[in-house]
Symmetry: C2
Subunit: 198 residues, 2 copies
């Protein structure tokens, strides 16, 4: 990697927790200058705008979160166990970039403006839903999950409940709400499990 | 109501959508001056700080949302029907103050700082959970809901799934995710319903 690329990567990694914690409006290029020790000119040599840096910082935080939360998934057998594993990992593993879920933060931050971040968040949610829906569809295919189950509907519900549970847990400073969500999603997964043939 | 109180109420009502849309950092006292037509001195005569105004604006938005979403609930008979009604109302009725759910916005905005707003959001979530848990406990009492159901757990799950569904719906600009959540919560409510005695 060239020195310029290394500096760029370093700026992104240092800016990521700032944007994740404070949001787009709450984090200034001055804050990034303070965190990186770079002058304004040095920063703008690598990023044309705060918008561009914020987008890269979001993609970096997202990538870290996905890695942390899917690493090891391939070894889990069966669709329902995979879903339960993904839910538990989300509930039990704190995000690697401080400030909570970057996807949630960016979505709430950008839902009334900032079309670039909004588009990135929309794509990230769609990708996440797709990853879960594929697992659910495989479970239907294999006979593990009831045929009447809608993969998209269940996928959206898992994502919504986890993200909402995270909001509650962070505001209360306790994992209780996420644990409650995990227990309820387990009930929901039970209810979509195909009856075992005698 | 005195003229001063009327002015204060008018400022709060005009500031509420600004804070709800843009968050605490994204909304300046200048924005409020523009929206109200008041000078800085006029604004600070009514509110000691931006913090105080933001807190009042949050409580105003919250109050409007609660009114919109609970009006008529008393006429619904039975705990499970009450819960389904609350869920449908949340899914189908847009919040009265533009910018999405004030509780969600404030919670995500304040979870890394702003202790006053954080405390208000925490209390609002606790109150909401309590209102739902009371309905669930009454359903257990009446034999409508299984005794093994935890009122707090189910209440937290409903709140988490609705708020998370709202995040997804707002970012996608479509009500699909909230509809998905409604359908899944209906399955979950079915699974906690006590078996009908023959």
């Amino acid at each position: 990697m060239k020195k310029g690329d290394l500096t760029r990567q370093r700026i992104i990694a240092l800016a990521a927790p700032l944007f994740n914690r404070r949001g787009f409006d709450g984090c200034s290029m001055h804050d990034v200058m303070d965190a990186t020790g770079l002058e304004k000119g040095g920063l703008y040599r690598h990023f044309a705008s705060k918008q561009e840096l914020a987008a890269e910082a979001f993609l970096y935080s997202l990538d870290q979160a996905i890695k942390t939360r899917t690493d090891g998934l391939d070894h889990i057998p069966g669709a329902l166990s995979k879903l339960a594993w993904i839910i538990r990992r989300f509930v039990e593993t704190p995000g690697p970039v401080p400030g909570g879920c970057p996807l949630l933060n960016t979505a709430v931050d950008a839902d009334d403006g900032n079309p670039i971040l909004r588009k990135l968040a929309r794509k990230a949610f769609a990708d996440w839903k797709h990853r879960l829906a594929v697992i659910i569809a495989e479970g239907i295919q294999s006979g593990e999950i009831r045929r009447s189950t809608s993969p998209d509907q269940l996928a959206n519900t898992i994502i919504a409940a986890l993200e909402g549970g995270l909001v509650l847990s962070r505001i209360h400073g306790s994992r209780e709400a996420l644990k409650d969500v995990e227990a309820s999603l387990a009930l929901l997964l039970d209810s979509v499990a195909a009856p075992v043939r005698p």
